[in-house]
């Protein structure tokens, strides 16, 4: 598995270091990526459902102002 990089800055010394993630950080990153993807997918599903609702409401004859009042 490829190792990712991180930048670490210390304001006490004003020094920056770019280093590879530790094994523990890489393991945590894999978990974080899965969770982040799930969150993004849930938001995308909400957006897609609203867009689908807009299309169907327009087909029923509602105006854009009426659709906006219903689904935002």
């Amino acid at each position: 598995m490829a190792t990712d990089n991180k930048l670490e800055f210390d304001a006490a010394t004003n020094q920056s270091v770019v280093r590879e993630l530790t094994e523990a950080e890489q393991t945590q990153r894999a978990k974080d990526i899965a969770k982040a993807n799930d969150l993004r997918d849930s938001i995308q599903s909400e957006l897609s459902a609203k867009q689908s609702a807009r299309t169907k409401l327009a087909a029923l004859g509602l105006t854009e102002a009426e659709i906006k009042a219903l689904v935002g």
Partner: protein, 185 residues
């Protein structure tokens, strides 16, 4: 003397300088990294801080970056006790959500993966270095050729722990940008 109207040769007295309301603490550029950590930026000098994050590019296999953030102390991220309420809009469509049960990071919005990005996040964070729960408010903006979105966040870290820094993450391969930290007097 009323600053900030400076004149050549003015003496900057302590009383004048101590009246400065916002003090720049750091400016950190990052290039093609998966995360960026800032240590020792939250100190007893200030209670409250403004953090500005701009991401100008990213690469990855996914369509979007999902950005997240964690508080950290002594070089270790805290990975629990984050709650948030969020509201956003993408194009003409709004969306909202909350996590009140306590997850392992703060959500920082999303932005399309692109070689040229226009993503920014502005965070006001209150008392991160105090041994008390930390609260923050934030908003993110994304404006590029394929997507536009804005998101607003209310955030709290429920542990009564002192933190000296934070880490900002992307779930994609890497990101490039700049993070600025300011202290409020």
């Amino acid at each position: 003397m009323t600053f900030p109207v400076f004149a050549s040769g003015d003496v900057l007295n302590a009383s004048d300088m101590n009246a400065v309301g916002l003090w720049k603490l750091s400016e950190t550029n990052f290039t093609t990294v998966a995360s960026v950590s800032l240590n020792n930026v939250f100190t007893s000098d200030y209670d409250n801080y403004r953090i500005l994050i701009r991401v100008t590019a990213s690469t990855g296999a996914g369509t979007d970056n999902t950005f997240t953030m964690r508080l950290r102390a002594a070089g270790t991220d805290s990975s629990a006790n984050y709650v948030h309420q969020r509201f956003g809009a993408q194009g003409a469509t709004t969306f909202a959500g909350a996590n009140t049960s306590g997850t392992d990071d703060w959500f920082g919005g999303f932005a399309a993966v692109n070689a040229t990005m226009y993503y920014s996040q502005t965070i006001d964070i209150f008392g991160p270095q105090l041994a008390a729960p930390t609260v923050a408010s934030a908003y993110t903006c994304e404006l590029d050729s394929t997507a536009t979105s804005v998101q607003v966040f209310a955030m709290r870290h429920t542990a009564s722990t002192s933190y000296d820094g934070f880490t900002f993450f992307t779930n994609q391969t890497n990101m490039t940008g700049t993070v600025w930290v300011y202290g409020y007097r």
